[in-house]
């Protein structure tokens, strides 16, 4: 089995995977990082979004071996100890979730947007979240949370 070296949430990891192992399977099943969710498993819903080298990707549609040498950030890697990341804090403050299943992917996607655009308009947020589905909220508070979180991040994650 291939041995993979990569950085996950700032820590160097060595993982044995199969070639067919998906990045999300490696994160959840090999490393126990179950904050990254699997929703549709067909690259539509965005529950599995993580950052690979700072860029948001759907981890159900990337092979673990494709992340060889990369730096992966999951929802578990955002908070600094007990303090929430500004984007997480904004989702809490603006009640940008109900059941919470889509939230990890929403937050990771939002962090990527905020890194590109520190003050996105409502329209820009809604366009950006095209690939993140929420079946509870109707998106309204998510959009508010992303705008507030982006401003709080001040353009840096």
């Amino acid at each position: 089995m291939p041995t993979l070296e990569l950085t996950v949430n700032g820590t160097q990891r060595t993982v044995e995977v199969r070639n067919r192992t998906l990045l999300v399977e490696m994160l959840r099943e090999h490393l126990g990082l179950t904050g990254t969710h699997v929703g549709c498993d067909t690259s539509q819903c965005g529950a599995c979004v993580v950052l690979v080298d700072g860029v948001s990707v759907k981890s159900c549609t990337m092979l673990a071996v494709q992340a060889e040498g990369a730096a992966v950030t999951t929802i578990e890697g955002l908070a600094n100890g007990a303090g929430l990341h500004p984007m997480q804090e904004a989702f809490r403050e603006h009640h940008g979730l109900q059941c919470g299943f889509c939230t990890p992917g929403m937050v990771m996607s939002a962090v990527d947007l905020a890194n590109r655009n520190p003050d996105p308009s409502e329209h820009e947020v809604r366009e950006w979240l095209e690939g993140n589905l929420c079946r509870c909220t109707g998106y309204h508070n998510i959009v508010k949370a992303v705008q507030a979180g982006a401003r709080a991040m001040g353009g840096a994650s």
Binding site: T42, T61, S109
Partner: protein, 264 residues
């Protein structure tokens, strides 16, 4: 998903020789088309040759009369590139409308063109702009490249290295996306450039991307939305799915063509 051999060579030449040696080998770049097919069991390559470690294929260069886009450029890169936005804004708009942000972050121009999904956007841009597809061994005009649904002129062990787009005088893109997948139900690029006036349609036909000669002739005499508004295409070869039946798709082709000309 069945397991497979996986290789991540550092050069195009090495990728070609690995493909030659692999049993039922496939190139993978971003994997946005291939991996979903593999997960569904619709593709089961014996060997994957990843281009992820090949450098030098992700640049976008101004070559004067042409813009050269490296095969590994992601849709996000093409959409954001100043050169593309200034010189071929229709191409940037097209790239910006593919899938969603995460798909655009991974999916590449080379992958989209090589896969030739009948509902992918890039084949229409290549055909309308008269692009040239450069590979490890030759250059192929877009006219000779797209040979039908999921079928191209590429040989089994051939690797795309770049796509070159002649800069048009004007070009416009309009797409009616499937609301779930964002693939084109009907997408049209209308261009007036070095390759002449061209109208290329994706998403609509079971034969893949195609040109509409009658619209091109009408636009050649007057490049106005009204010129194409009255030109309809036959519903005979149109795709049919949950999003649209053949008659509606044929109707959308005319509407999107009109909007594409408006955008140009």
């Amino acid at each position: 998903m069945e397991d497979f051999q996986y290789h991540a060579p550092g050069s195009v030449d090495a990728a070609v020789s690995l493909l030659r040696d692999a049993e039922d080998g496939k190139v993978v770049a971003g994997g946005m088309s291939l991996l979903p097919l593999m997960k569904l069991g619709l593709a089961a390559p014996g060997g994957l040759v990843s281009l992820g470690k090949v450098s030098g294929l992700d640049g976008i260069a101004d070559r004067g009369s042409e813009i050269e886009v490296g095969a590994l450029c992601t849709h996000a890169q093409v959409a954001a590139a100043e050169i593309v936005r200034e010189r071929i804004p229709a191409l940037a708009a097209m790239a910006e409308g593919i899938g969603d942000a995460q798909v655009r972050n991974r999916g590449t121009i080379g992958g989209s063109v090589a896969h030739n999904d009948p509902a992918a956007d890039y084949p229409a841009a290549c055909l309308a702009l008269g692009a040239t597809i450069a590979t490890d061994r030759r250059e192929i005009a877009a006219d000779d490249f797209f040979l039908g649904m999921f079928f191209t002129a590429l040989e089994e062990d051939e690797v795309i290295t770049a796509v070159r787009f002649p800069v048009p005088t004007r070009a416009g893109w309009a797409k009616f996306p499937n609301p779930a997948s964002k693939y084109a139900v009907a997408g049209v690029m209308a261009a007036d450039g070095p390759a002449g006036v061209r109208v290329a349609v994706t998403g609509a036909s079971g034969d893949g991307v195609f040109r509409v000669a009658e619209m091109e002739a009408a636009l050649a005499s007057s490049f106005e939305p009204a010129s194409v508004a009255g030109v309809s295409v036959s519903a005979e070869a149109m795709l049919s799915d949950d999003a649209a039946g053949p008659e509606y798709r044929a109707h959308l082709v005319t509407v999107m063509a009109k909007r594409a000309v408006e955008e140009a």
